[in-house]
Symmetry: C2
């Protein structure tokens, strides 16, 4: 008859009473930390306890902010797409750019979205998209469609100008695929000096697919 062992450790001290708007900060902490851990170890490879530990909560407390683990995953993806759309909007704010310049900007911005410090949200979406139950996917797909549409507009223009030799829709899938796949091989800030920077990566990507 195995009796459940209770930790003999002293009970944790309660933190000081929290300010009113702290809950949303704690929620944001959970999303940010979940993104990092999901990216490193995958959704199923990360436990809700790992996430709670990393933000200094007890194991049951994340469920005060999220009904279940999948909603945490959804929040990570939503945050990533919202941040990504913001970054794209800011980068394309100058409306005088040529289609080629817009394309260069999109490519460089997307590399940043994948590899800048703290940018773990979109990689999680790329890794664990198939893990999200269909009912959670709807709202994410809406955001993702907005993201794709921005790319598609520019690629359509490039195609019309004869600067893109493939079908514009397949070109979008292939170019974003080429960039997205860098999450499997690119390491930010390695010791080696001959490592390609994101600027170089972006320039080479553009050179590969755009007609001179």
């Amino acid at each position: 008859m195995p009796t459940r062992l209770k930790p003999a450790a002293a009970p944790a001290k309660r933190p000081a009473a929290v300010p009113p708007e702290a809950a949303v900060n704690r929620r944001a902490d959970l999303v940010r930390v979940a993104a990092r851990l999901f990216r490193e170890k995958g959704f199923h490879g990360t436990t809700t306890r790992d996430i709670a530990d990393a933000v200094g909560m007890r194991s049951g407390s994340p469920f005060y902010h999220f009904a279940n683990k999948h909603e945490l995953l959804m929040a990570v993806m939503e945050e990533g797409l919202r941040l990504g759309l913001d970054r794209i909007a800011a980068a394309l704010a100058d409306t005088s750019m040529t289609p080629t310049e817009r394309f260069q900007t999109l490519v460089r911005t997307h590399y940043g979205i994948l590899h800048d410090t703290g940018s773990d949200f979109i990689p999680v979406m790329l890794y664990d998209w198939h893990t999200l139950p269909a009912e959670y996917k709807r709202s994410i797909i809406e955001l993702k469609d907005g993201y794709d549409a921005i790319w598609q507009r520019t690629l359509d223009e490039l195609h019309a100008q004869g600067l893109l030799r493939a079908d514009a829709k397949l070109a979008r899938l292939m170019i974003l695929g080429a960039i997205n796949f860098s999450v499997t091989w690119y390491r930010a800030k390695p010791r080696s000096a001959k490592h390609a920077s994101l600027d170089v990566l972006a320039a080479q990507t553009v050179a590969l697919v755009l007609q001179p």
Copy 2:
């Protein structure tokens, strides 16, 4: 005091004694079924019981063939790379091909390796590479390096001929990335007639990156 409930079901009948070489067939069954399930649900999303069920074994029996779940994952990846290398070698058997023809062949073959019926091994490697412990990766990396080298030779030649405008090594990463990423969006044999075939996909990929 919860007493463990034992199933009241009749004990399963032992199957007839197996022929001597059957063990290797059963092992191959496990690898093939594991590849399919790992692809569909991921490594952590698939239980060893799922795999045992799918081949008609009891839950403990896969561990007669594999020391642990990770060795099953490694076997899936190894099988995929071996099959892939075989397919490439067969496809490139004609030594009179130009670099452009070899490139077209490599691209088309790789799409088949990802999307042909029963070709679940390499997609598993793409999805769950980061799940494999480092000590298991060594032998896989060796096979993978061989695969990459074949691509690199052809891309170097294309670059020398001025048919590829990006650095040849980055071009390999980006082109294989563009193709590999199709595992996230391409569905084989859909109902829709306007769906791109692998032939079309391959031709468009070549058109996108190769200078006319």
